[in-house]
């Protein structure tokens, strides 16, 4: 019998870490890269790419993050900065975790479309490890559409990065291979998005926390054929499930409420965050993550590529973000929105309140905010979380009643 996507997922995640370790042993170049960067540029030159954010998440999900947080905090890292960075800076020193391991880098590759923080973090790595720092700077889009000079600047940096990579590798750039990787990356992105969008069905065949699992893989395997094939398989499974009218969970477990989860999962507190939602029949049907790795552009269109990367939602203005989320509420028949006020991530946090107001004004659905963190287990409070979720349930129920009455 052929494997399910879930089986393949676990295999591929394991393989990702094993291959990276092996590559290092074989003397291949290793890059540490940010989660939504133009990895195409590295993959095309056969550089092994690993993702510290992903790695930190894996460590946290297996409840091993504290050791690394302690190490970096001991070196002077404030507990107020991003915990992905703190875990990784700790790992840089300790270089071993029971949870998962990544080889030490020969270069760092950073795209600051996700935040300014990563540029600081990678600058630290480049300095302390004395390795090249490749940066793709994507200016914040406070205007709805990126102006021409932004695109030009990013194009210029992509060219510059290519030269840096040639120098590091000591051989001319392989443009043919780049074309190929671009093609695969776009196909992966297509299947990833299509799979995530099966959650539009009522009930959704997809459980949002499953999406988080697959997300861990789309980060690191976007440019690889195995990745593309996996996401295609996953999508087909979900579409088949939807056609049969199957929901996200076991038979008899009803999807009562459909919500958007905004922000990163609490990897260090995954189980309570999931179980409490499930207890109330709440399924996370979407977020802006389906779009995060939906990096689509025409193969070999460098400007298009630049645009696709700079348009990551956290790099866009509130008009865009709030409107997109409101649209999701409508397209996915969402009953409420849960905002994770993530102690690590100021960029995602400091517009939450405004987004709440706009989404409710635009769609009428209720929203709640809870305090948490993705890898620092000390921030999340189960009691607060449950209280907030209960409040959301009450508001969603009220809305449902109102709708039912109006329908009569």
């Amino acid at each position: 019998m052929s494997k399910t996507s879930k089986e393949l997922l676990n295999e591929l995640v394991a393989k990702h870490y094993e291959d990276a370790a092996q590559a290092k042993k074989d003397g291949k170049l290793v890059a540490w890269a940010t989660s939504i960067c133009p990895q195409e540029l590295l993959e095309a030159m056969d550089i092994t790419v690993v993702y510290p954010e992903n790695h930190a998440a894996a460590i946290a999900a297996r409840k091993h993050s504290q050791e690394f947080l302690d190490q970096s905090e001991g070196c002077g890292y404030s507990i107020d900065i991003c915990s992905y960075a703190r875990v990784n800076m700790g790992y840089k020193d300790i270089q071993y975790s029971e949870a998962a391991n990544i080889p030490m880098p020969d270069m760092v590759f950073c795209c600051n479309n996700i935040c300014t923080t990563v540029a600081k973090w990678y600058e630290n790595l480049a300095t302390e490890l004395n390795i090249p720092f490749i940066l793709i700077d994507t200016p914040f889009n406070h205007i709805y559409d990126a102006p021409a000079h932004n695109i030009e600047y990013m194009r210029n940096q992509i060219e510059h990065a290519i030269h840096q990579i040639e120098e590091i590798c000591g051989r001319p750039y392989d443009y043919e291979r780049l074309t190929e990787v671009m093609k695969i990356s776009n196909e992966t992105a297509y299947w990833w998005r299509r799979a995530c969008f099966t959650a539009q069905a009522m009930p959704s065949p997809l459980s949002g926390f499953d999406m988080f699992n697959y997300m861990a893989l789309v980060v690191c395997i976007r440019g690889k054929k195995e990745g593309r094939d996996l996401f295609k398989l996953w999508c087909e499974e979900l579409e088949a499930k939807a056609a049969e009218g199957k929901g996200p969970w076991k038979e008899g477990e009803e999807e009562k409420y459909r919500v958007i989860w905004d922000g990163i999962a609490c990897w260090a507190n995954l189980s309570p965050t999931y179980k409490i939602l499930k207890k109330y029949g709440i399924n996370v049907v979407t977020s802006l993550y389906p779009d995060a790795w939906t990096i689509l552009y025409e193969t070999n269109d460098i400007e298009g590529m630049a645009k696709a990367y700079t348009y990551y939602h956290a790099n866009r203005n509130v008009d865009y973000v709030a409107a997109t989320k409101s649209q999701r509420v409508k397209d996915f028949n969402v009953d409420g929105v849960i905002f994770h006020s993530n102690r690590s991530c100021k960029l995602m946090d400091f517009t939450i309140y405004e987004q709440q107001r706009r989404i409710t004004a635009e769609t009428g659905v209720p929203t709640v905010v809870f305090d948490g963190d993705m890898t620092d287990p000390r921030i999340f409070s189960e009691a607060q979380y449950e209280t907030r979720i209960q409040a959301l349930v009450e508001m969603m129920e009220e809305n449902k009643k109102k709708k039912a009455q109006e329908g009569k």
Binding site: C75, G76, T116, T127, D137, H142, P147, Q157, F350, T351
Partner: protein, 375 residues
């Protein structure tokens, strides 16, 4: 009162009463003010438009209105700006310029449009990849965009000639400030840590044409005096700002002299010398592209640690004081790296976590005292 005391007192009063000072500067010059958020903004463009660029470095205010936009873990300086903005304290400003230099500031760019709609805002996004050739062209385009937006808001045409003149004035001001920090280090009694800070800060609320003359005068008067000996420890200060002011009082009480600084509000504004060649736009861009050791502008390898070590060596300082603004991510990221470098050199560090809303200084007082005694 001697001339120097008069000048110092004047600037101190200005720095301690920004709102009043701005109103007076506007009245004196007949100009209207444009607010400039930390850290960098192209003030020359504002000045060229006939406006008074004024600094917006927070203050001490209770947070109420701003709670509808920002969580508790936002740096106090910027939360105060939003608080004051919503309360109408900036309604007299023609516009504000907000640079998206950190994640918090990016969000402020967005929140301001909604929270303080009565004060138009112009965002600027500085390049971080300053080693890529395209960064200069990009930054120039950003400057030009800022100019057009200011023109649209104010209805004033801002010519290149006017910008050239403003740039020249600013270069002169910056040269004066560089000289001031050097000369002041030789007069630690007349220019103690608190006076040094206030004199520099006053420049944010005055017309630079007037301000630079005042500082020049202080320099000239100082030079006439015999050099003074420091009473206690000489330090280099680093961080975002040398505030709250109470901390500087404690420095003075304990004879701590700031002989040089790497504070964003102080020397980082003027330490980089402009390029002699190029168009006015290239020169302005050059000042950002050539800036080193500032956490708000990325580097391929961080140079701040080496820079601080050199500053300590060149000034005969005995320690580095870190004024860490709570919740300032970029500053917090730099600290562990330069801390290790300074420790390797055997340079003592006094780490002070500060924010503008601090009420109690007893803990800091004890730490500062014992640090001063230890050295």
């Amino acid at each position: 009162m001697s001339i120097i005391t008069k000048k110092i007192t004047k600037l101190e009063n200005i720095a301690l009463n920004p709102a009043k000072a701005v109103a007076e500067s506007c009245k004196e010059t007949g100009k209207e003010a444009v607010g400039c958020f930390p850290i960098y903004t192209p003030e020359e463009i504002v000045y060229a438009g006939g406006f008074l660029p004024v600094g917006m470095w927070g203050g001490k205010k209770e947070f109420k209105e701003s709670e509808a936009y920002l969580q508790g873990f936002c740096c106090s300086i910027i939360k105060t700006n939003v608080e004051l903005g919503i309360r109408g304290a900036y309604n007299h400003l023609k516009a504000v310029i907000i640079p998206a230099l950190c994640d918090t500031l990016k969000c402020i760019v967005e929140n301001w449009k909604i929270a303080v709609p009565q004060v138009p805002s112009v965002a600027i996004v500085y390049p971080q990849n300053r080693w890529a050739a395209g960064s200069q062209e990009y930054l120039i385009a950003e400057y030009k965009r800022v100019r057009s937006e200011l023109e649209k808001i104010t209805g004033v045409l801002i010519t290149e000639t006017a910008i050239e003149q403003a740039y020249e004035l600013y270069e002169e001001y910056r040269a004066v400030m560089r000289e001031f920090t050097e000369v002041a280090a030789k007069y630690p009694q007349t220019i103690d840590a608190k006076k040094r800070h206030l004199i520099i800060k006053a420049g944010y609320y005055m017309d630079k044409a007037v301000y630079k003359e005042d500082v020049k005068c202080i320099i000239e008067e100082l030079k006439k005096m015999p050099e003074e000996k420091a009473k206690g420890v000489k330090v280099v200060a680093t961080g975002l700002i040398g505030e709250p002011i109470e901390v500087l009082d404690i420095f003075v009480e304990n004879g701590i002299t700031v002989v040089a600084d790497d504070l964003a509000q102080e020397s980082r504004q003027f330490r980089t010398v402009g390029r002699p060649e190029g168009t006015i736009w290239e020169k302005m861009a050059g000042r950002i592209l050539d800036q080193r050791g500032c956490t708000f502008l990325a580097e391929q390898k961080k140079s701040r640690g080496d820079m601080l070590i050199n500053m300590v060596k060149n000034t005969g300082a005995e320690a580095v004081v870190v004024m860490m603004m709570k919740f300032c991510d970029p500053e917090e990221f730099d600290y562990p790296v330069y801390k290790a470098q300074l420790e390797k050199e055997g340079i003592p560090i006094l780490y002070l976590e500060v924010d503008q809303q601090m009420e109690s200084f007893e803990q800091l007082r004890t730490r500062i005292q014992s640090f001063a005694e230890m050295l």
